[in-house]
């Protein structure tokens, strides 16, 4: 394969159709600078090119990175025509009540009323930290979809053409780039907060993803084939089976005994409990100390609760919320059905942001009649444990610098903001906020599935660009104690955020260089328990 052709001028929305191989090529020097000590050269890895053979079948046409790890690039004119036809058929369905009652009104409002004022651009952490690459601007992908919609789906566009729709050509390149660009947005909706009209560019990314998935089954494997499909078929998107989860729970019981010198029987499939607690199954595999901490707290506080070992219900994730409304509905319905079978009073979601939002908020209008059950966040319950002094805590045990990462799904997208901070203000004497925080926080960079999308070269893009703002915030939050002799803790009460933060810290070698570690909220709570002789937090990077 010859030299790769990159567009060497300012990029506009219509350039989505450009015949060049790649619209942009990123280098570390283009990216926004990081604060000390990362302001010096050599502190972060150089960015790499995609493997030449990937270019043939995978969509490297946007920026060289591949989020959709399927060989879906048309190989001839016929395939290109089929792709365009399928896309237009999907677009028309996206505009109907049958196909998209779920988001029709918000989508059409956002397509119709954007004033192109660009007030939203500077709110986007990806656009800013990429050094303002045009293809990551919140309006870039939205404008491409808007122009296609105007041109092909509205009477004004059909009559007046370019004058109304703007310049846009619909070919394979346009679609490969449009689909990939929908996976350069974490759906954090920070841009939406700043829009004077209430236009939602995050939603437009979501709808583009949906169109490709619901019409063609095209989505990153981690979200679809190995995500929701595996979740529904095997029981968890991690591949964990019911037997597997029961084994891990036993292992966790042993581990708790080792740590606190007391055996706790973790309730599993207990009919009639008050709470069905559902964790992100990633916790069982990567951070078993998190479900362990929940078990300690819930038992010590005397709550009536259970876990489930039935397929789907031991994994709180619902990747459908990021790319496919049907898959969202399938997973949510299964969660509700199993909870009802267990005759619990409510589902409580553990430390997983998107699972919080998916089942509590977004799926609220999917569940009905027999498939309905109250759902809530674990945060208010945890705060009640502290507030009502159901357990004795000694904050001095947490006397090290702690900052809080707000999962977007919990704060901006469902308004659960204060309970977790109230806990930290009580139990972490050196707690300091990141700036900005709460509902104005920045995404960890792992949002909308990025944290679990680990194939091909996507993790490099995530670490270098998507998590960059979070890393900047972390460095700033700890700027008074960067000395590696001081252990520092990023409290991230969300499995996906933890995944992204783990990879981010490792990419920037922050544990060894600066002793920055991360973990959940419940681990900090247990660490502060008076009854525990040994610290629960082990300051090991994993």
């Amino acid at each position: 394969m010859g030299e790769v052709e990159i567009l060497s001028r300012e990029i506009k929305p219509e350039d989505a159709a450009s015949p060049v191989d790649q619209l942009v090529k990123l280098t570390v020097r283009d990216l926004e600078k990081l604060p000390p000590p990362y302001d010096k050269p050599g502190m972060e890895p150089e960015l790499t090119d995609p493997k030449p053979e990937w270019r043939e079948k995978y969509a490297t046409d946007l920026d060289g990175y591949i989020a959709i790890d399927l060989p879906w690039k048309p190989q001839n004119k016929e395939e290109e025509e089929r792709l365009v036809k399928s896309f237009l058929s999907g677009l028309n369905k996206l505009l109907t009540k049958e196909g998209n009652w779920t988001f029709l009104q918000p989508l059409l409002l956002s397509l119709e009323y954007c004033a192109k004022c660009q007030t939203c651009s500077n709110a986007c952490p990806i656009y800013i930290m990429s050094g303002k690459q045009e293809v990551y601007k919140p309006t870039w992908r939205a404008e491409i979809l808007r122009r296609i919609w105007k041109k092909y789906c509205t009477p004004a566009g059909k009559i007046f053409g370019k004058f109304v729709a703007g310049d846009i050509e619909l070919n394979a390149k346009t679609l490969l780039r449009l689909a990939e660009s929908a996976y350069r947005c974490t759906l954090c909706r920070r841009c939406t907060q700043t829009c004077p009209i209430g236009v939602d560019n995050g939603l437009i990314s979501h709808e583009i993803r949906k169109l490709f998935s619901q019409e063609m089954g095209i989505a990153p494997k981690a979200l679809h084939e190995l995500g929701t499909v595996q979740h529904l078929k095997v029981g968890s998107s991690t591949g964990l089976t019911p037997d597997g989860v029961r084994d891990i729970i036993e292992f966790i019981e042993d581990d708790i005994e080792d740590k606190i010198g007391k055996r706790i029987k973790i309730p599993v499939d207990e009919k009639g409990a008050d709470i069905l607690l559902i964790h992100n199954a990633g916790e069982f595999l990567s951070w078993p100390e998190n479900p362990a901490a929940f078990a300690i707290l819930f038992e010590e506080a005397g709550l009536s609760w259970t876990l489930s070992s039935e397929q789907v219900a031991y994994d709180a994730v619902n990747y459908g919320v990021w790319y496919d409304d049907l898959q969202l509905a399938r997973v949510a319905a299964k969660h509700a059905e199993i909870a009802n079978k267990l005759e619990v009073n409510k589902i409580v979601v553990g430390e997983c942001g998107h699972a919080h939002k998916a089942i509590t908020v977004v799926a609220d209008r999917v569940l009905h009649d027999d498939i309905w059950i109250p759902r809530e966040s674990c945060m208010p319950i945890l705060w009640e444990i502290v507030k009502k002094e159901k357990i004795n805590f000694d904050p001095e045990k947490n006397n090290f610098p702690v900052t809080l990462h707000d999962p977007c799904n919990m704060v901006r997208l469902m308004g659960v903001v204060e309970p977790q901070r109230k806990i930290l203000r009580k139990l972490a004497p050196q707690f300091r906020e990141m700036e900005p925080h709460g509902v104005y926080n920045y995404c960890c960079g792992g949002g909308s599935g990025f944290a679990i999308m680990t194939s091909m070269n996507f993790p490099e893009w995530r670490n270098a660009v998507a998590t960059r703002m979070k890393f900047k915030q972390v460095l700033e939050a700890f700027k008074d104690c960067l000395d590696p002799s001081i252990n520092k803790y990023i409290c991230a009460p969300c499995s996906n955020c933890k995944g992204a933060i783990r990879d981010m810290l490792s990419y920037y070698k922050a544990p060894e260089r600066l002793s920055i570690y991360y973990g959940g909220l419940v681990e900090l709570m247990v660490n502060a328990m008076v009854d525990l002789e040994e610290p629960f937090i082990e300051w090991e990077f994993h």
Binding site: E98, V164, T194, G217, L232, L367
Partner: protein, 310 residues
């Protein structure tokens, strides 16, 4: 000709109202969507200042909701009247867009005052009020047209000079700005050359209010051109996204602030029940095309679900 201008004025107003109303109906009759609220939601009593929601409570679905209309109105008016978000997040643009929008609001107030003045001169005589209205007309008209014109010129220059905005602007959007500018400039020309105290404007409105062409002033050519263009603009606006005042109501009230809960027996549940009966038209391998959303959602997983095709 003059009564033709009156007819055009009535028609422009009627078309404006009818098209705005039909758009309103179109947006409000769209199906209920999934929840997609965005915090801070201003009607959350006691929590709005930090962006909290009722979900911060244990067993929130059992508890009465505490909402505040005042919070919503405050947010709404600060956005409508001051364009708060542009002020906060893109100040240089605010210096142009604010005079433009504030100028338009003042011109709308000017129309309303002319109407009140017309009523006072035709139907009810309250001289003291008429005098106050007369002076308000002078103030609103003068400041309004100057601010809107300067803002409009500024916005056009910015569209061309700021590539961030220019690259995204399509032909019709430029046309819209120029259309408004031409109407404003003909308005200014009429004001300066023919009607410095809006006397003739008052007479024109009096004729409209009285449905009587006898009250009409003698209009100069530029004044006639201005009235015709202004009427055409009134007719045109609701068909375009310049009617974003409608969209804005729905984006905020019906999407970003819509946090209505679905509980058993609620209206929301009844709607969900109906909507999930709709047949799914989608074609991906994991969809059973034609079966309802509910049937699809409750199906057992199949092997082909993980595949893709086009």
């Amino acid at each position: 000709m003059l009564s033709a201008l009156m007819a055009l004025s009535y028609a422009a107003f009627a078309i404006f109202v009818i098209v705005v109303a039909s758009k309103w109906i179109k947006w409000s009759s769209m199906p209920m969507h999934l929840r997609w609220e965005l915090y801070p939601v201003p009607h959350e009593a006691g929590r709005h200042h930090y962006g909290g929601s009722y979900i911060e409570e244990v067993d929130y679905w059992k508890k009465p909701r505490e909402t505040t209309l005042a919070g919503e109105l405050k947010d709404m008016f600060s956005e409508m009247l001051f364009i708060k978000r542009v002020y906060q997040y893109k100040r240089p643009l605010w210096w142009l867009t604010y005079p433009f929008h504030a100028g338009i609001y003042l011109i709308l107030a000017w129309f309303f005052l002319l109407f009140v003045h017309g009523i006072l001169s035709v139907y009810i005589s309250i001289p003291a009020l008429a005098t106050i209205v007369y002076y308000l007309i002078q103030i609103c008209g003068t400041i309004g047209i100057i601010a809107a014109t300067l803002g409009c010129i500024g916005l056009i220059i910015r569209r061309f000079s700021d590539r961030d905005m220019g690259n995204y602007t399509v032909g019709v959007e430029i046309f819209n700005l120029f259309f408004i500018l031409v109407v404003l400039l003909t308005g200014i020309a009429t004001w300066i050359t023919y009607d410095p105290h809006f006397q003739h404007a008052m007479e024109f409105m009096k004729a409209l209010v009285a449905f009587n062409a006898a009250y009409l002033p003698k209009l100069t050519t530029i004044a006639k051109v201005h009235v015709v263009l202004l009427c055409l603009l009134w007719i045109y606006i609701p068909f375009t996204k310049m009617s974003h005042f409608i969209g804005k109501y729905f984006t905020f009230h019906k999407v970003l602030w819509d946090d209505e809960l679905n509980v058993p027996g609620s209206k929301v549940e009844a709607k969900v029940r109906e909507l999930t009966k709709l047949p799914m038209p989608w074609s991906a391998p994991h969809v059973d095309t034609g079966k309802s959303w509910d049937e699809n959602a409750l199906e057992s997983p199949k092997d082909e679900w993980g595949r893709w095709r086009y």
